[in-house]
Symmetry: C2
Amino acid sequence: MAGLDLRKLGELGLIEVLRRRARGARGVWRLGIGDDAAVLRPRPGYDLALTTDTLVEGVHFRWETTDAPSLGHKTLAVNLSDLGAMGARPLGFLLDLCLPVDASPAALAGAVRGLLSEAQIARCPLIGGDTSSGPIWVLSVTALGELPQGSALRRDGARPGERLLVTGTLGGAALGLALLERGQSTVAGARPFVRRQLRPRPPYQAGARLLRSGSATAAIDISDGLTSDLAQLLAASGMGADVQLERLPLARGMRSLCERLGLDAEKLALHGGEDYELLFCLSPNAPSAAVLARLLRCRVTELGVIRAGRGARYLRDGQTIAISPQGFDHFKPVSVSSEK
Amino acid sequence: MAGLDLRKLGELGLIEVLRRRARGARGVWRLGIGDDAAVLRPRPGYDLALTTDTLVEGVHFRWETTDAPSLGHKTLAVNLSDLGAMGARPLGFLLDLCLPVDASPAALAGAVRGLLSEAQIARCPLIGGDTSSGPIWVLSVTALGELPQGSALRRDGARPGERLLVTGTLGGAALGLALLERGQSTVAGARPFVRRQLRPRPPYQAGARLLRSGSATAAIDISDGLTSDLAQLLAASGMGADVQLERLPLARGMRSLCERLGLDAEKLALHGGEDYELLFCLSPNAPSAAVLARLLRCRVTELGVIRAGRGARYLRDGQTIAISPQGFDHFKPVSVSSEK
């Protein structure tokens, strides 16, 4: 793909490129890019899920530590993660692109390529959007998904005695970010973590499978970090939880790499954001984690149990360890929970 | 409403303020702000329209010439305009807010007030979104509407012999912008034009009424300017049009104010953007403009006719006047059509 030079293309030219390269929106879509709005014919018996997430240059990404195709990929992936956390199957997305007039043609072409290739893999076509000039890159995606009526995996459904589980592994994306920011992204063993940071692969299909299994009572995706997102789920449900620290699922090689570099693997797994794994609750008599892993087609770990009360208690060898929710807050330098 | 200080509120605090102030999303909404995604139960027999529009500080607005409540109002209004141009009734919207950490608490409170009061008037509740820090303000709205299945007012339906009409008056918003930028916003007679620029009131309900009338074959909203948006409608339909220049609907007082200030009223009406009026086509035997005005509850003017061919021909007293489509292009300094 040649570069995309905005000053030659102009706004209409850019839209035309996007329209041509976006694979035809069919199925539920009656009208895609090119009119005042896209038009969708919902399938009878289905609800729609809508979510939006923005990546801002200098805040969510820096060109020193990312590449354009990864940026495009991630812009959609973080939204697919939110759909998956509702149990929804992706249907399509709208894109708001704010770009400097002198945006690198190669970077723009790369970002479009990364975005649309992820869209194709997820069968989630680009169906509309808006383009604008601006001093920095800002990429906003609004994604739509569908799920059987009344079955959305909400945050507020957890009840005492239920099991708390998580897909995949935790902390890898935060380790990748640390490696990138320390200029250590090429040390031995770094690669999978750097990739995890730059090109997250949220298990959004596992979310839809979990919904179909009928055994989940609540779910959230881990975008801000386990402690922070668990706190959100518990607050929405009005519940507490006991979490076994020894069960935290770390990726292979993470602990040893962290030791070599003087990083705390457990802290990254607890508080590091951008894992985009699925945290969910199951009724006590639901399938075992092993059976569920086969059903969801991904690793599943049982972290603990929901109990009456408020907030999470973290335990190691039966002892309570003092751990407060920490997560990234855009407007506060310190942790979310450190102030009233 | 007190100011909203981001450094005190934090991200979760801001979201909580928005959630509390957004009037309950009911009706089709099963789940609003506060989960991984909003959930909608579509009504049987209806299609959904989805559109998105972004306002970027320094590009779409400057603090020197706008106030925060107007900015909030306009952020939603421009999206309502797109829904109206499809004939859709608004259902709700998502908001992506990128804000400087040191955003003025008064400005943020004002923008939220302006946005949510427009949302209440339009019965188009805030149902989700995303917040982020950033060097400038960027406000993106994705709005949803519904319309009877298969009846969307598309751009590509115009056919030879059909009549071309427009709601309201043209050029007023561009005059308002000129007045603001020249520091003449307080001269006698300026007020309605300044207000029109800052607080557009798109006739989105007229769009839904037009759809119900069953007489329209194509529609587009005038956001970039009549010549530019008409060119888009004609290109989508593969048609030409004859437009009578003497029929251009100008607001009362516009011509005299323009003369006093040395501005060209006709050029503003032809090329000035942000009118957010509805440009549409009617089958020849559809109701007269007068009847239609009563039906749509707004001024309606017949501008000309659709003909076979390509692009618009502008006529005065039977003579063709050379006028090329001009509209704002974010990435090109000159007009859209001046280059191939």
